[in-house]
């Protein structure tokens, strides 16, 4: 029994390796705010969504300063604040960056190895741009090597 407890304690650590942040402009795309006509559906409250981007086994930074009436990033940490019923496609439209099966921000891939999306750790099989930005959604987009996605992100209070 002691051995079992020791095994449980030993395996309770944090064994998984981090993914490094990429170097160069492709991995650090600039903030932009395109004049996209979005309606916030009368929703006055901002809610938090977390988006992670990975390309070529590196982190792509989502910059602070992407702004519209219903979407904004105030920190470069992947937290998007959303009002109304918005989708991931809306966010990329405001940002002015590509998102499709073969394009993710400045990166391209071939149809045989498309951009993959995960919501709360589960593979999203529908259109990438249709992913709903629900409160506390944890969304991961990947191009290239598979990085097992996180299911949970802890949001700041009030989001």
């Amino acid at each position: 029994m002691r051995l079992l407890i020791l095994i449980a304690m030993a395996t309770g650590g944090f064994p998984y390796p981090p993914t490094p942040i990429g170097v160069g402009a492709l991995f650090h795309p600039r903030a932009a705010s395109r004049p996209v006509a979005l309606h916030c559906d009368g929703d006055e409250r901002w809610r938090g969504v977390h988006l992670e981007l990975f390309a070529r086994n590196r982190v792509v930074i989502i910059p602070a300063g992407i702004r519209s009436r219903c979407l904004r990033t105030r920190w470069p940490v992947g937290v998007i604040e959303v009002r109304g019923r918005r989708t991931l496609g809306d966010f990329f439209r405001v940002w002015g960056q590509p998102l499709s099966r073969t394009r993710l921000v400045g990166f391209q891939t071939r149809p045989g190895r498309p951009v993959r999306a995960y919501v709360a750790g589960r593979r999203w099989r529908g259109a990438l741009r249709a992913i709903p930005l629900r409160r506390h959604a944890q969304i991961v987009l990947e191009l290239g090597k598979h990085i097992p996605p996180k299911k949970v992100f802890l949001f700041p209070d009030g989001l």
Partner: protein, 206 residues
């Protein structure tokens, strides 16, 4: 023989406790690749005077030739998707340092209410860890900021900074009841797994 009998249980424990390699989602890495200091803003805030003291000390360290970046982690929310590392400053320092390796290879200091973690790419930090071990960490984000100021000054060989009186009024992240609930829940989960494993073993014997 013993190992064979234990195999099902070990498998169950490993499945629950050992996640595969994962993506990272900690806010500090996204700030520190351009900044020298990550101040907690998801788990309470450092007051401006304490933040200013820390900035002066860190800037002084760089001016003195000691490159250091500092992450203040006041609560689990400041770790975002790697909240499991809250309370493990050294483990998080190792994790954070490896996220930044292509952009920064100097010293990295992590401060949590539980203590310090120090990392430097491909270098031992045993000496630095010993140096900061005795530095007290007071309660709240201001307390963590003050501890960081003292630790950086010590590491960089700077005079002890004049720490403003910590108000202790800032929020200190995870409440004690939440930590206790997580601890009890974890213990129950492990106990359940062990009981299940014993049951499987008994059935095999029968």
């Amino acid at each position: 023989m013993l190992l064979r009998r234990l195999a099902p249980l070990v498998g169950i424990v490993a499945l629950v406790a050992l996640p595969a390699a994962r993506a990272d989602a900690d806010p500090a890495s996204d700030i520190l690749y351009t900044q020298r200091i990550y101040l907690p803003f998801f788990s309470g805030k450092v007051s401006p005077e304490h933040a200013q003291t820390l900035k002066q000390v860190v800037d002084g360290a760089w001016a003195n030739g000691y490159q250091v970046k500092v992450a203040l982690i006041a609560g689990d929310k400041d770790l975002g998707g790697v909240y499991q590392l809250f309370g493990k400053p050294q483990e998080y320092a190792n994790f954070l340092g490896r996220e930044l390796i292509f952009l920064y290879k100097g010293h990295l200091l992590v401060v949590m209410p539980q203590g310090f973690g120090v990392y430097r790419y491909q270098q031992s930090t045993a000496r630095e860890q010993t140096q900061v071990k005795g530095v007290p960490v007071a309660e709240g984000p201001d307390g963590i900021a003050d501890a960081a100021s003292l630790a950086v000054a010590k590491l960089a060989g700077l005079p002890k900074p004049d720490i403003a009186a910590s108000s202790g009024s800032s929020s200190s992240g995870t409440p004690a009841w939440e930590v206790a609930a997580i601890a009890v829940g974890g213990a129950l989960l492990i106990a359940g797994m062990i009981a299940f494993g014993v049951l499987v073993l008994r059935r095999r014997r029968a």
